[in-house]
Amino acid sequence: MSRDWPLWEVFVRSRRGLSHVHVGSLHAPDAEMALRNARDLYTRRQEGVSLWVVPASAIAASSPDEKDSFFDPAADKVYRHPTFYDVPEGVDHL
């Protein structure tokens, strides 16, 4: 039975205003139990205020083989970075 439990990916929002961040994965028979297992495994030390669980099978991932065509072309396009502007005073997180 235990080997049949599907894998879930866990996302934790550590504070209000921040995004949910992937923290790891776990096994659970269904979504409700996955949330509860996530609570026990990933928020024991007050790491979060909100949890998402997603079936690992529902995630489409980029392939390491495609790394060159996916990511390398961005390397020489410095104009995409907004570094040519003066940041106004008082705007810390532009």
């Binding site: 039975m1 235990s2 776990l26 096994h27 139990m33 509860r36 297992n37 026990d40």
Partner: protein, 249 residues
């Protein structure tokens, strides 16, 4: 008749002995995730036990601290209900017992959070959130196993049938000095029965299980008369502290 010391001790022992039984599951649960969940629940109960034991020691004012009370009392001096002291090596039994016990603790701590005794109210106010989670955990497993396969339904019902006869002691007022209830310090055990019953019955219904129709076992843990299984539990739990008196980390 149990006064404030005896009452606090009884509630502490319930939590302590339950925690010790829960710890048996560490490394034995059906999944690593469940292993952590049961350990967490046991540790919550241990935390409640420590606070209550420390307070009991204070009330007694005989120089006994939480460790003395946990490790240096003999079987007959323990005041926990027999429900929590028996072996629980079957997952269905464990979930049935946790369902009953945590449903009772939820009502108990909710009532005690309004206690006239500030320390009991404080401990209960903290614990009530913990036991709400224990109840949630047990409820979800009971529903999944009861409303699962034929085998899981059968085993969950067997677990419930095994634990049900031991539940009555939780609601027995006989051990308690009713003065504690009149002064608003303690919660009258029998007053919790209807709410616990309603909560547990709702879970049983959702799980397509049957409310056990079984006779109540004779159970007098509150008077220090225990099943033969408590002695073995204490032997393991107290062994280190008794073999090395006063040892520290």
């Amino acid at each position: 008749m149990a006064g404030l010391f005896g009452y606090t001790l009884a509630l502490a022992d319930d939590a302590l002995i339950s925690a010790q039984r829960m710890s048996w599951w560490i490394s034995r649960a059906p999944q690593l995730e469940e292993d952590v969940a049961l350990a967490n629940i046991g540790l919550d109960q241990l935390g409640q036990a420590r606070l209550l034991l420390a307070y009991a020691g204070e009330v007694e004012a005989a120089g006994r601290g939480e460790d003395d009370l946990a490790y240096l009392r003999d079987e007959r001096e323990f005041r926990n209900v027999c429900l929590v002291e028996r072996e629980q090596t079957d997952f269905g039994v464990t979930m049935a017992r946790l369902l009953i016990f945590s449903a009772w603790q939820c009502e108990l701590y909710a009532a005690l959070s309004r206690s006239a005794d500030a320390t009991l109210a404080g401990v209960a106010g903290k614990a009530v959130k913990e036991v709400a989670y224990h109840l949630d955990h047990a409820s979800r497993w009971v529903v999944r196993l009861g409303d699962g396969t034929d085998v899981s339904h059968q085993r969950m019902q067997a677990g419930l049938d095994a634990e049900w006869p031991w539940a009555a002691e939780l609601f027995d007022d006989a051990f308690l000095d009713t003065g504690l209830v009149d002064s608003g310090v303690a919660a009258l055990p029998s007053s919790l029965r209807d709410a616990v019953d309603a909560g547990v019955s709702a879970v049983i219904d959702e799980a397509t299980l049957t409310r056990p129709d079984v006779a109540t076992h004779y159970s007098a843990g509150r008077d220090g008369r225990h099943t033969e299984q408590l002695g073995f539990l204490l032997a393991e739990m107290q062994h280190l502290a008794r073999s090395h008196p006063g040892a520290t980390w």
